[in-house]
């Protein structure tokens, strides 16, 4: 990937302003064929916006985009795609009402006699999916699949065409190690074929593993362009956040101290739901962090949804404080002090057209009922507190959540549940799309909450995170609970073995 070939994409002096926000200011960016180029920056730095400017979603206010030597000004993503730029956008942007195969091949379906050849289409889709190691029925409807699978389908769509530029905006945020490895394998193959790949991720390990070069953005401005081999993590982080903080230490020490745990808060016995998760037993104590580990589709989300009453259990029972609780829906769970932050922030989490303020207080307000509005002052205090605590940007409570960057949206969702001061906080992929600084903050927050007596159920595709934070780790496989481990003595490898391995005897450590 060295000096010889000219850049396939060159963006010069790009500026773009949204009402109230200068998202990009005079940014230069180059992408060479045959390289994996990481675009780095904090949440809200302007990464996604730069990508959207490249692919014709936004028109830059100033600056020009050059593709293979030609000035281009795409007026729609379709045009960019025709010009050979294939993109996976940050949020899953597919159609849940269509089948997996259609989502992969729509717009370029194989045709026969003028009509779409569905059998051929399903075959092609299955092939593409197999390339990234996904084995699902291409004729199934996309909406049936969890967000991670949808993310894989989006990737499949992007690599299903011959492109010269492949743009991947946080493709790995919901994926676990296995899927990431598959993706990287494909990326390397494509790179070797001369495709230019633009990659965004907040996982430094991944960036260092796959990328050749990187461009760093901060607050919409360009702060550096490096060969990956030339910068170490500390320098990179310093450049991204603009300060030299002990962030890395913070991450590493996030879960050192373990507190004494309180009484059993929530106990599930034989709780289950046909087709979703087999009956399981689970105890969570006040002040305890329970991690859920498992592969994609192992049933972690399903388990969490049962505890929250988002889905009805069809067997077993749930005790809260030793008393049976019949969950009739999220409301009764919330009333019992349970909170659930969904992994699908776009579909099940945020109310995109409302302001940050409204989203923050929504759960609390809902619990009070509409007749007892939160006083304006309390609201402002709460909002102020959490905007600061989670460093949500822009710190304007009236900004519509729709206009926030992915990571900042995730923070708003988290804040909504923190506001309710729950006794059991279920976090499904809470650090999805969150930058390293904020991730450390959130992990810190989890530990602090636990120390204050909150019970936490923590789900993450990032196994290290689970192992580091959790006091106990519940392992799921094929929608069944197969083991429960002591978090303080368990290593990542041990869990990986359990998750992937064959028949492991049930072992419970308390």
């Amino acid at each position: 990937m060295t000096e010889s070939p000219p850049p396939v994409v060159e963006m010069r002096g790009i500026s773009l302003a949204f009402p109230g926000v200068k998202a990009l200011q005079d940014v230069d960016f180059r992408l060479f064929p045959g390289e994996v180029h990481a675009l780095m920056g904090e949440n809200g730095a302007g990464k996604s916006t730069l990508i959207k400017t490249l692919t014709g979603v936004h028109r830059p206010d100033t600056g020009q985009v050059v593709l293979a030597g030609d000035d281009v000004a795409f007026s729609s993503p379709g045009e960019a795609q025709h010009a050979g730029i294939s993109t996976v956008y940050q949020e899953v942007n597919l159609c849940a009402n269509l089948t997996v195969a259609e989502n992969i091949l729509l717009g370029r379906e194989p045709r026969r006699f003028g009509g779409i050849d569905f059998p051929a289409m399903r075959r092609r889709a299955a092939e593409v999916l197999a390339r990234i190691g996904v084995h699902i029925d291409p004729a199934s409807s996309l909406g049936e699949h969890p967000i991670a699978v949808q993310q894989l389908v989006a990737i499949a769509r992007a690599i299903a065409i011959d492109c010269r530029v492949l743009v991947l905006d946080e493709p790995t945020s919901s994926l676990d190690a296995g899927e990431v490895a598959e993706l990287f394998r494909i990326m390397r193959v494509l790179r070797d074929e001369g495709v230019a790949i633009l990659f965004v991720s907040h996982f430094l390990d991944q960036v260092y593993e796959i990328s050749d070069r990187m461009t760093v953005l901060r607050n919409g401005t360009l702060v550096g362009e490096h060969l990956t081999a030339d910068v170490d993590r500390r320098t990179l982080i310093a450049q991204m956040i603009g300060r030299d903080l002990g962030t890395l230490e913070a991450i590493e020490h996030a879960a050192e101290e373990r507190q004494a745990q309180g009484p059993v808060l929530v106990a599930a016995t034989g709780l289950g739901r046909r087709g979703a998760i087999e009956p399981f037993d689970l105890e969570i104590r006040a002040g305890q962090v329970v991690g859920l580990a498992g592969l994609l589709g192992s049933g972690r989300t399903e388990l969490a949804r049962l505890l929250f009453g988002a889905d009805r259990a069809d067997s077993g029972r749930l005790l809260v404080d030793g008393k049976p609780l019949r969950l009739r829906g999220p409301r009764s769970a919330i009333a019992a002090g349970i909170a659930f932050s969904s992994e699908d922030r776009k579909g099940e989490g945020l109310v995109a057209d409302l302001s940050i303020r409204d989203n923050l207080v929504l759960a609390m307000q809902a619990a009070r009922g509409w007749t007892r509005p939160l006083p304006r002052k309390t609201k402002d205090q709460l909002v102020d507190k959490y905007l600061k605590a989670l460093d949500i940007r822009p710190a304007n409570p009236d900004a519509l959540v729709r206009t926030l960057s992915g990571g900042n949206q995730q923070k708003v969702l988290l804040a909504r549940w923190l506001v309710t001061e729950p006794r059991l906080l279920i976090l499904d992929e809470p650090t999805r799309g969150i930058d390293i600084g904020a991730k450390a903050q959130i992990q810190q927050l989890v530990t602090t909450l636990a120390a204050e007596g909150t019970a936490i159920l923590f789900i993450s595709a990032e196994l290290e995170e689970v192992v580091r934070i959790a006091d106990r780790i519940v392992v799921l496989r094929d929608r069944r609970k197969i083991a429960e481990l002591d978090g303080s003595v368990t290593g990542v490898d041990e869990v990986v073995e359990l998750i992937a391995g064959g028949a492991t005897p049930e072992k419970v450590v308390s």
């Binding site: 993503p77 379709g78 269509l98 769509r157």
Partner: protein, 320 residues
Amino acid sequence: MTTLAQRVPSRFLPVLATVALFVLAFGVGSARYDGFASGQVIANLFIDNAFLIVLAAGMTFVILSGGIDLSVGSVVALSTMVTASGLQAGWPVPLVIVAVLLTGSTLGLLMGLVIHKFDIQPFIVTLAGMFLARGLCFLISVESVSIKDRTFRDVATAAIELPGGVTITYNVVIALLVVAAAMYVLHRTRFGRTVYAVGGSESSALLMGLPTTRVKVGVYVISGLCSSLAGLLFSLYMLSGYGLHAVGMELDAIAAVVIGGTLLAGGVGYVLGGLAGVLVLGTIQTLISFQGTLSSWWTKIVIGVLLLVFIAVQRTIVRR
């Protein structure tokens, strides 16, 4: 194989439920009324609703794409008016047909462009289209105009014999052809699948690089074309043009489509659902006219109640 058996029903369930209900209602009618259980009654259902079937097919496109078209009833009226006054003025039949179809599609195109280019809600634009089309009728003539053209009359009165002594009209044949064509376009062509994509999520469809403009404008052209074709069928059915024809027919068309299981929010539904919906509405009417003892108000109430029974039962079947 089992996955197939599990999946197909859940997707087609609303349509299947509607069809099942239709059969059930027909059974009830046959048991209750003499002469109900005849092939001709079913044939009449198609004869009397051919235009509505065509309208529903066009409306399905619009609703699937997440829009709505309130202009269809007025466009039917305008089409009858253009047909009748064109024929009265001595235009040849092919010219009249082309003129009518062009008028409808052009109106659709204009509405589609306004909706898309200026980002105005379909409800208002098509409501204005509704006013405009009906207004144009009255500009042509406030009185009704008879169609005396021989060819037209012959086609209108021609009866196609089916086995069993049942007869249908050419209208029915055309309507069924339209349904078949609509199914082909929606399910077999790229355009059709893009309609579903746009209805499922317009922003996603855009980011997927699909030609959303073409689809968003296209569905209104198709709906306009279907409305004017329905207008031609209506002219054949009525042999007259009149500015007050088809008042409120847009609601019938929307109702038929939605009863057939299509989601008004877009992205989910089938053309066959619309057909089933039309048959349900037609059956309700047939039941009432066979009953023949209802006063005007009880007629309305019974229509409402039967409609309720249909959708409530359908809802329970689909929910399981």
